[in-house]
């Protein structure tokens, strides 16, 4: 799937980028008055097999290695480039989308096109297939870098907000007895924390604790509320319900102790491990409960270089 996305991105870029963004600007040119005998040096020194012919900055033709060989074969000593060049030149304009260059390469089989400024008719560069590939890679790299910077800044934004003493709060309602929506609040919270750019380990710990607390609310109560508070150095998850309360908190904290009915256990819940899991992945767990009135569980995670439990 990642591959599909990349292809789409490249296709998008081929339409978005212009020919003059990928072309080579530093072009070796010759004039129409250049003697053919000089081409040997030009081609050899520059390691090229052809050059645009420019007169007063305007493109007037193109001279290739093939033209040079023809000239050698004909043994016409004193010719100039202007007399031997191809004047019917295929060109691209600098403001054309790169996709035009791609299709022209495919159609014509040529290795390079001269690029001309549409308004002035001046030669501004040359484009080869290699330039297209290199141009796309360069653009992909720039985009990727921008995305990285953006991500980094998003992370910093949260830091900056919290540094000035601001607190972020999120609230989730949990419907009691509704197993179909089990874990929904925890998943939403997990997505939110991830989106804020919090470190993945912390996100996982908070999500696990929120999930266990949410399931407790669903299994044992008629509903409740999860309040999440993000401060500079900690995340606090506060879960409150309005009954039935826990008669013996010490006992409830013992791994394996459960008061869940059989049908809940058949679903794989109520194994008596929930509170234990919360305790293991958090830095602090406080439970206040009054039978008949309700329970309030406060879970704290230290984030300023906090321990990596669970």
């Amino acid at each position: 799937m990642a591959q599909d996305r990349k292809t789409t991105k490249t296709q998008e870029l081929v339409y978005e980028m212009k020919v003059d963004q990928a072309m080579t600007r530093d072009v070796v040119t010759v004039g129409p008055e250049t003697p053919m005998s000089r081409l040997r040096e030009v081609f050899r020194e520059q390691r090229i097999s052809g050059a645009p012919v420019v007169d007063d900055d305007r493109l007037v033709g193109i001279i290739s290695l093939e033209d040079f060989i023809e000239w050698l074969y004909a043994r016409e000593e004193n010719s100039v480039v202007g007399a031997k060049m191809t004047t019917d030149v295929d060109i691209l304009f600098g403001d054309e989308p790169l996709v035009h260059a791609v299709s022209r390469f495919a159609e014509s089989g040529f290795g390079r096109f001269a690029v001309v400024d549409r308004a002035s008719g001046r030669l501004v560069g040359v484009i080869t297939k290699g330039d297209v590939v290199a141009g796309l890679l360069r653009k992909l790299e720039v985009d990727y870098h921008e995305e990285e910077v953006h991500r980094y800044q998003a992370g910093r934004l949260l830091e900056d907000i919290l540094a000035v003493g601001t607190t972020l709060c999120f609230e989730y309602q949990v419907e009691g007895q509704n197993f179909d929506r089990g874990g929904e609040s925890a998943s939403r919270l997990k997505r939110t924390l991830k989106g804020l750019g919090l470190d993945p380990g912390t996100v996982r710990r908070v999500a696990i604790a929120a999930y266990e607390a949410e399931m407790n609310v669903i299994v044992f109560t008629d509903g409740g509320r999860i309040d999440v508070r993000i401060d500079r150095d900690r995340i606090t998850v506060d879960v409150a319900d309005s009954g039935p309360g826990i008669p013996d908190i010490e006992k409830a904290l013992q791994p394996g102790f459960s008061t869940a009915p059989q049908w809940v256990r058949d679903l794989g819940f109520g194994a008596g491990m929930g509170l234990d899991n919360i305790r293991n992945c958090s830095d602090d767990l406080e439970i206040e409960s009054t039978p008949g009135e309700g329970t309030r569980v406060t879970i704290t995670f230290l984030t300023g270089g906090a321990s990596e439990a669970g």
Binding site: S187, I208, L267
Partner: protein, 115 residues
């Protein structure tokens, strides 16, 4: 090992999220208790269970598991399939009991909880 290879080797029937079969399986865990899985499974693990209700998807997603293998030919509930599709959690079915499925996985060199 890729999930797709595990599916091939064990001849599992894929019920959802075929697109995520390229995922790497890092190990496995077997349990029918949600909190047990939450406590002990690691991200990238394959989960072997007989639970077929949609909460398995929530747990798998929470723990970022590679996928769920249902044993004894138990088919996922409709709501489970829907939720798995939206959370992109692959669910596979094996006709064999858990003991045999886990044995096969172990035979492929897969282990769990030892790292």
């Amino acid at each position: 090992m890729k999930l797709a290879e595990v599916v091939d080797e064990l001849d599992l029937k894929v019920r959802t999220a075929g697109g995520a079969l390229e995922r790497e399986v890092r190990g496995g865990y077997a349990s029918d208790l949600m909190s047990d899985v939450i406590a002990h499974a690691e991200p990238g693990y394959l989960w072997v269970t007989l639970q077929i209700h949609q909460n398995v998807v929530a747990v798998a997603s929470l723990k970022e598991l590679a996928g769920i293998v249902l044993v004894n030919g138990r088919e996922p509930e409709e709501a489970t399939v829907e939720r798995a599709e939206s959370e992109n959690i692959p669910i596979m079915v094996s006709p064999l009991p858990a003991f045999d499925v886990i044995g096969q996985l172990y035979g492929l060199g897969m282990a769990g909880g030892t790292d």
